[in-house]
């Protein structure tokens, strides 16, 4: 009878012992696989957090007379790590006229100065996404009629409500804005929205064109025409968002390597304060996950070694008998190895299913929690203080993008490590027994 047959017979006839070992190995393998998948998912969670901190860098190309164009933008967007979200901006001053070429009235009370030529002029901010402009987000502006400006629009404008009323302009009307320095550059625009400021402006040093009522927002095509005289999207500033704030320096280096731009004349600035504030906590969370993983692995290792060693030692008598009838040591070790091998293979195969189910449960609990987390803040309370949200961005219910899955690579690693560990442990556990003289083994057991 060879060792393969003996191994098979042991497994089949010592069902309870086999089952115990199988279940233990199954549990440990499941635990390891689930841990790995959760660790990956948790790390993805941290990546998501970093992403959602919306770090970006700004290219200030105001000093470039030709500005930045779409081609350069495309090059920038193709850099690894740039997530494709961006805001383009340009700033200038323009004279306001109605569609009959009559000058429109601006606000002058409170202005520190009314520079020459600016008697009917105001600041024009060209934006690819006016909703995210600093005037709205930090300056307290709010659109009260109509809509914000978005990337695809052209020839539209947002005006201050007071400016519009003063000049009898309403939504849908057409006005003309003319470049203050270069009157040949002018654009006809349609009033798409009216905004208001919610806070007083500190006007100590403010020139007339900077008074809130005299500020207007247009789309990038309009500002491109107005400032550069070009029909395609040329802009002065670009806010480029990245996925991973840690890569900002790298990305900026890559941007400066793009040819055809005098980067020395531009200022590139990182904006990742959100990330900087949360960096330590994020790192700690990742380390907690990592540490847990390590502890789990060590503990699994210890438990596995203990159990296998114990199993082998329990068969000391059998080993003694086999040695006494002249069975070679290698045959005895091989038998044990084959048994462990078979059990481990079964356990590993089934562990894929069990850990898959477990991972699925974890994944489902994530989705459930996320939809509950979405908060809606009350708009009013009974003390009549008005509670406002700082911006009126529409909030989407954030669905979890984290999947808890088991990757093939992880599975393979657990297989290899598991098999290696079990085999090595078995062999090592047998060494002291095999080294003993058969006589001693037998006399110990009888």
């Amino acid at each position: 009878m060879n060792f393969l047959k003996r191994a098979y017979l042991y497994l089949v006839r010592k069902k309870v012992k086999t089952l115990f070992l199988f279940i233990t190995l199954l549990i440990i393998a499941t635990m390891l696989l689930t841990c790995i998948s959760i660790q990956t998912a948790a790390n993805n969670g941290v990546v998501n957090i970093k992403k959602s901190l919306r770090s970006y860098f700004t290219i200030n190309a105001k000093q470039l007379p030709e500005g930045l164009n779409e081609k350069i933008l495309k090059n920038i967007l193709s850099i690894d790590g740039v997530n494709g979200e961006y805001i383009l901006r340009s700033y200038t001053k323009a004279i306001y006229l109605d569609n009959n070429k009559n000058l429109l009235k601006i606000k002058t009370e409170g202005a520190a100065t009314i520079p020459l030529g600016c008697e009917n002029a105001g600041k024009i901010i060209g934006s690819s996404n006016s909703e995210k402009d600093s005037y709205f987000i930090e300056g307290g502006f709010k659109v009260i009629e109509g809509n914000h400006i978005t990337l695809d629009q052209k020839n539209v404008i947002l005006l201050h409500r007071d400016f519009a009323y003063k000049n009898g302009i309403s939504l849908g009307d057409t006005i003309v804005i003319k470049n203050l320095e270069n009157p040949e550059l002018h654009v006809e625009v349609i009033v798409q929205g009216l905004f208001m400021n919610t806070r007083e402006q500190n006007v100590g040093m403010t020139p007339s064109y900077d008074l809130y009522e005299n500020v207007a927002f247009t789309d990038i095509v309009t500002s491109s025409k107005l400032i550069f005289g070009k029909l395609n999207n040329v802009f002065q500033y670009g806010d480029i968002y990245v996925d991973n704030p840690e890569q900002l320096d790298n990305i900026i280096n890559n941007v400066e390597a793009i040819s055809g731009v005098q980067w020395e004349k531009c200022i590139l600035t990182k904006y990742d304060q959100g990330y900087q504030n949360t960096k330590r906590a994020l790192e700690t969370l990742q380390n907690i996950v990592f540490a847990t993983m390590i502890v789990v692995m060590i503990v699994s290792f210890i438990i596995l070694v203990l159990i296998l060693t114990f199993s082998v030692r329990n068969r000391m008598h059998e080993i003694g008998v086999l040695l006494s009838i002249g069975m070679s040591k290698s045959a005895i070790v091989l038998q044990q190895l084959v048994e462990i091998f078979i059990i481990t293979v079964f356990a590993l195969v089934i562990s894929y299913m069990t850990s898959f189910l477990l991972a699925e449960q974890v994944g489902n609990s994530l989705l459930a929690k996320t939809t509950k987390e979405y908060r809606v803040v009350e708009q009013k309370n009974n003390n009549n203080a008005v509670i406002e949200k700082d911006s009126e961005l529409e909030k989407e219910v954030r669905m979890s993008h984290i999947e808890v899955t088991i990757s093939e690579l992880d599975y393979l690693v657990v297989w290899i490590v598991g098999m290696a560990l079990c085999s090595i442990t078995t062999v090592f556990a047998m060494i002291p027994i095999i080294k003993m003289k058969p006589k001693n083994i037998l006399s110990q057991m009888s």
Binding site: Y10, L322, G326, S328, K439, N440, S446
Partner: protein, 216 residues
């Protein structure tokens, strides 16, 4: 014909207590030897040394004039020796047939039949057999090994009188009819009486006591 020879064999536990001193004997094929002596005198140790389960501290053990250490103890146990223990020492997850098949040289069914086990008994779990039946399986295993030397350590120790007699007869037959060298360690005077030669162990030294003619 002499098959096994012990030359000046000595053995001590932990280099302190000397159990066997200067044992020199010659064992022949076709004879049954009984090793007698008080408890703890080293009978089982002597058997272990002959069987290659352990090595002597002094002296040599030769089989066919070759030192068993040089042949290799494992090889020696496989080729030359068959053990029968007091507590049977069967593998509990193998049937009688499979236990016998471990040593594998002769067909298990025949050997089991020759020791008086039925077909049905051969298929049962060994733990469900009676003491006598288990010992028969052990003997069958030893026979199936087709070894020239059979070493039995208190083979009848756990058996009733009638069964003991049967087992003793089987062992005798091994020696006389199958031409094996059978060495039996025993407390049983009855069994000792059946042996051809009695080896008495006392204070580590051996006395070859009675010699009976071979074949009787």
């Amino acid at each position: 014909m002499s098959i096994l020879e012990l030359k000046n064999v000595g053995y001590s536990y932990d280099n302190k207590r000397k159990v066997l001193k200067n044992i020199s004997i010659s064992l022949e094929i076709g004879k049954m030897y009984a090793v007698l002596g008080p408890s703890g005198c080293g009978k089982t140790t002597l058997l272990s040394l002959i069987g290659g389960l352990d090595s002597p501290n002094e002296g040599h053990i030769l089989i066919d004039d070759k030192n068993i250490e040089q042949i290799g103890l494992s090889y020696h146990r496989k080729r030359n020796i068959a053990f029968i223990f007091q507590s049977y020492n069967l593998i509990d997850y193998l049937t009688p047939k499979e236990n016998v098949a471990l040593t594998c040289k002769l067909p298990p069914e025949q050997v089991l039949q020759s020791v008086g086990l039925t077909e049905e008994e051969c298929k049962r779990n060994v733990l469900k057999l009676s003491g006598g039946q288990q010992q028969r399986v052990a003997i069958a295993r030893a026979l199936a090994a087709d070894a020239r030397v059979i070493l039995a350590d208190e083979p009848t120790g756990n058996l009733d009188e009638d069964t003991a007699v049967e087992i003793t007869d089987m062992l005798k037959a091994c020696a006389h009819e199958m031409n094996k060298c059978v060495v039996v360690v025993t407390h049983s005077v009855e069994l000792a009486k059946q042996a051809d030669v009695i080896l008495k162990l006392k204070k580590g030294e051996i006395q070859v006591l009675e010699q009976k003619e071979a074949g009787r």
